[in-house]
């Protein structure tokens, strides 16, 4: 089965003037966030939830997220979780920064999403550190870690145990937004899409 991606749309100002994720080469179904309760998700297998979303609303309707995951689908959340609407996920923790190298990000466990992506390219933009992520998540032994700060704190992880589906949690900006910057972070978008395709196939093969 092919990827069928939907994105929950917060309907905010940055979202209407092209400052958010570039989607031109990818068909992504747009779901205005407050229509989630009536949205048809049967034809969707990846739901992307961005950082500007109303998490009070998601918490009040977390059964929809749970049902979507129970159907062996994928939820991707890029942001700072402050309400427990995502199964198995802890809440966001800000990273304590004492030196700019504390923002350094390191790929883990041969991650296919960040394969070949250099720490320098993730951490520094125009000589300034800290744009990639500002905080982290506590994880369990069952959650697969993909990125860590220098401190060891987890920036990105994948959870295949909390539900029948797969949950990707990233304490930073939308992963599909990394392209066209002429550095190794351009690999993230393509590799993330490949990861989603592979993950979807694994979910559908699993009994």
């Amino acid at each position: 089965m092919n990827l069928s991606i939907a994105r929950l749309d917060p309907g905010h100002a940055f979202g209407i003037n092209g400052q958010m994720v570039k989607m031109t080469d990818l068909a992504i179904k747009n779901i205005p966030q407050y229509t989630l309760t009536s949205a048809a998700l049967e034809d969707v297998n990846v739901l992307i939830i961005p950082n500007f979303v109303d998490q009070e609303f998601l918490y009040a309707n977390k059964n929809i997220i749970e049902r979507f995951l129970a159907d062996k689908n994928i939820v991707v959340f890029c942001g700072h979780l402050f309400r427990p609407w995502l199964p198995g996920a802890s809440l966001f923790m800000p990273e304590r920064i004492q030196h700019h190298t504390d923002y350094n990000i390191y790929p883990q466990n041969n991650t296919p999403i960040f394969d070949g992506v250099e720490t320098e390219d993730m951490t520094v933009n125009k000589g300034v550190a800290g744009f990639f992520a500002r905080g982290y998540y506590h994880t369990t032994a069952e959650q697969e870690v993909h990125l860590r700060f220098k401190s060891g704190h987890v920036v990105t992880y994948v959870d295949r145990h909390a539900t029948n589906g797969t949950i990707v949690v990233h304490a930073g900006r939308p992963l599909l937004g990394y392209s066209g910057h002429n550095k190794t972070t351009d690999r993230i978008r393509t590799q993330f899409l490949a990861f989603l395709t592979q993950e979807l196939a694994r979910l559908q093969e699993a009994q």
């Binding site: 917060p10 905010h12 100002a13 940055f14 966030q33 500007f52 109303d54 500002r134």
Partner: protein, 201 residues
């Protein structure tokens, strides 16, 4: 002390900004945006309309916000405004100057045009308002421009109405940046701006 209400989007940045005790102590009523139209705001003196609100909900509540100001309340608007809801709104979107401070002879592009205004006499400096800007307003002549771009556009203006109401409108979006854990100036901005609102000056 003036009673301040704030519209709360439920997004991560607003959660942090408006629950932070040093800000929250000035907030009488945090109004969840989907419930705004049905909420009584007649007991408030000031209504803060943050940046990055859901556009549909913003427009649904726009008339109520305008009536609040027309009835003597102070409305504060933060951030870029792609939707027309502020009276005689003339918003000009511009490329954001994220990196001005890395350039040779760095200039923020901001000019403090009203240093005698109470906001700048007692509460904020121009440095506290300086990170980047997403565009500017061209308000009507009865508005006092407090911070301008070098070509005279308004980054912040204060418009006092004959009814006693007031609009304080700025393209700056400290609510988003502080809540997202970046741009240290935004924290100083909020530390000064909320006491200013509470003072009613």
């Amino acid at each position: 002390m003036k009673k301040i209400g704030v519209i709360y989007s439920g997004n991560e940045a607003h959660y942090r900004t408006f629950h932070e005790p040093k800000i929250n102590q000035f907030i009488e009523k945090l109004i969840y945006h989907p419930q705004f139209v049905g909420t009584d705001i007649s007991d408030l003196d000031v209504l803060v309309v943050p940046s990055q609100l859901n556009g549909e909900l913003l427009m649904q509540g726009a008339q109520k916000i305008r009536e609040f100001a027309a009835n003597g309340g102070t409305v504060v608007a933060f951030g870029p405004q792609p939707w027309e809801w502020i009276p005689e709104q003339k918003w000009k979107n511009r490329e954001t100057n994220f990196w001005w401070w890395l350039e040779k002879d760095a200039k923020s592009g901001l000019v403090l045009t009203a240093p005698e205004h109470m906001l700048f006499k007692d509460f904020l400096t121009l440095d506290d308002c300086t990170w980047h800007q997403h565009g500017c307003f061209w308000p009507t002549d009865d508005a006092e421009i407090l911070i301008a771009t070098e070509d005279g556009g308004a980054i912040m203006y204060d418009q006092k109405l004959a009814t006693g109401g007031r609009w304080i409108v700025t393209t700056l979006d400290p609510d988003y940046h502080f809540g997202s854990y970046f741009m240290p100036a935004t924290e100083r901005f909020l530390e000064g701006f909320f006491p200013f609102l509470a003072s009613g000056k």
